[in-house]
Symmetry: C2
């Protein structure tokens, strides 16, 4: 079977790999209908995150179940499924509290940019759709696997909802889908930070009421202007840099909520600033599995169309170009078809 492998920064190849197979009785193997390139895939691609050898890439996926292990009961061969980027048992105390991405048995998914993939803990990880989806629903269902689920989690963590002003730091696919989530959750005012016209346009389509082009302290000042000097009730952080985290915290009113999902790899939060900001801070790897059933329904009923974030679609064989386009910011997000 074919699959992408990252060999070194900038060097991603599609090559023959060992056929995915059932290894444990709780596994499933799925034949991928679509996969995509995540913003976090760009970290090792750019050499920011070191790799210790060739790495099979991809963790966002939809497909058709090919085979299941002997203990799998909730999905069966032939079903179309969406899964989280973190495998979880969905039964432990942490999962039951809604934190499946921190499941006591969790495994991070890899190798989804391929023809076939083994999914561990299939019962707790995969959700079957009501039937075989129309072709135009596939990108949106694929988005649910990570980028939508992550934007959604950020909006929930930020307590976006009716009566709230929500600000969104980051106009990548996660930030844009954070806008969509805030809208669905009923927020009154949604302010997107963005300097790129195409992304501003998509933010408005997803529900943004205001666009702020300034960043850092100037961006914070704009948010204050728009909120009677108080700051937003809810702020979504979808970047993960020191500047973006501080911009998010400073844009939030005292007692407000910051939902952060950008991996803050290099960030050091100054305790005293956080203390006097009096905000709530919550984030982490999104527990996508918590939201999957609802997100699938919203997509199936055509209430939301998160698939719009894919502005480049390529056959799997051209994965290298898909990475390059995202790296060079020519594409927001690349969908790959095996």
């Amino acid at each position: 079977m074919r699959g992408t492998v990252l060999y070194a920064p900038g060097d991603v190849r599609v090559e023959d790999r060992p056929e995915a197979a059932i290894e444990k009785p709780t596994d499933a193997v799925i034949r991928l209908t679509a996969a995509c390139v995540c913003g976090s895939d760009l970290w090792p691609y750019r050499g920011i995150e070191p790799i210790d050898g060739p790495r099979p890439m991809g963790h966002e996926y939809v497909g058709v179940v090919e085979a299941v292990g002997s203990e799998v009961t909730s999905v069966k061969p032939g079903q179309f499924v969406v899964g989280s980027f973190v495998a979880s048992d969905n039964t432990c105390e942490i999962c039951q509290a809604g934190y499946q991405s921190s499941c006591v048995q969790r495994e991070f998914i890899g190798g989804a940019q391929a023809d076939l993939m083994r999914v561990p803990l299939a019962d707790g990880t995969l959700v079957a759709t009501p039937g075989t989806p129309d072709a135009d629903l596939v990108p949106s269902l694929l988005a649910a696997s990570d980028v939508l689920g992550t934007g959604w989690f950020a909006a929930v963590a930020a307590e976006a909802g009716p009566g709230k002003t929500v600000a969104v730091v980051g106009d990548g696919a996660v930030g844009l889908l954070g806008v969509l989530a805030a809208k669905q959750l009923g927020a009154d005012q949604i302010i997107a930070f963005s300097r790129h016209q195409d992304r501003q346009k998509l933010a408005r389509e997803f529900g943004a009421t205001d666009i702020v082009t300034e960043r850092g302290d100037e961006g914070v000042a704009k948010i204050k202007e728009l909120t009677n000097g108080l700051g937003a009730h809810s702020v979504i952080e979808a970047v993960g840099t020191q500047e973006s985290m501080m911009q998010a915290i400073h844009s939030t009113r005292p007692g407000g909520h910051v939902g952060y999902v950008g991996v803050p790899a290099e960030v050091q939060l100054p305790g005293v600033e956080l203390f006097f900001s009096a905000v709530h801070l919550h984030g982490g790897p999104a527990p996508v599995r918590r939201f999957l059933p609802d997100l699938i329904s919203l997509i199936w009923n055509r209430t939301i169309d998160p698939g719009k974030v894919f502005d480049l679609e390529l056959p799997l064989d051209q994965a290298a170009e898909g990475y390059k386009a995202m790296d060079e910011r020519r594409a927001i997000k690349t969908l790959l078809r095996p």
Copy 2:
């Protein structure tokens, strides 16, 4: 009138100061019945926090209203009152959301270790008790002004409640009253970190079910042992050092809540560790005013006895000894009688 003034590290004096008086129509002047020394007073006393000149000390207080400005309507001369350590209007949008310590008009109180004190924004800051309290209630009412209100806020921020295991980092007065708050809020299991026998004893009196004497990673391991490997649902952080913050975060299960009230002056939180911990983090200067009416009721009805944290009582004139005893850890908390 007499009042304490800090001149330099270790040099706190009781001296004659200008008589407190109404300066604004929203002020009240109160005659202090009791005041006390706060853990945070020890920062400048120890030279950790620099002062830029002689500083009148004290921000925890109970007393009798002596005079009110022309616009004050909610308290009147002769009433016994408890106030927050932060003056607030209690009407702005931030106050109404329960964050009075971040009120748009806030003023930090100073000079409470004195005969008389001016309280700004009296209507939004002071709460009158149902009558003149019995003498034995005074220490508990005084505690409500900061140390109890702060421990209570930490427990609320940590979402302590029924079905929860709560761990408390810090066995100072705030941590001990965090234990009391967690108990009142209905927590099932309350684990206090403490190495001091007298504080362990008080923690148990306040509701601690378990004591852990280990700190840092060893302390975290103990919490994991006591919680089926998962960590506590709720953790109160009442110290404010790098070690104590990380101990609190690592003691919390994914999806759990850390309520932090120790001022983390020197703390830098590593973003990536916070991210993968998947905890909720909330804290800041406690909005004591939010809780004052309920806390006064609980004290008035003799449901709680937070005044037990005062293990040293001195006349105001001996304030210097009160500071010294706390600095040398001979006392948990010093009450001063003008």
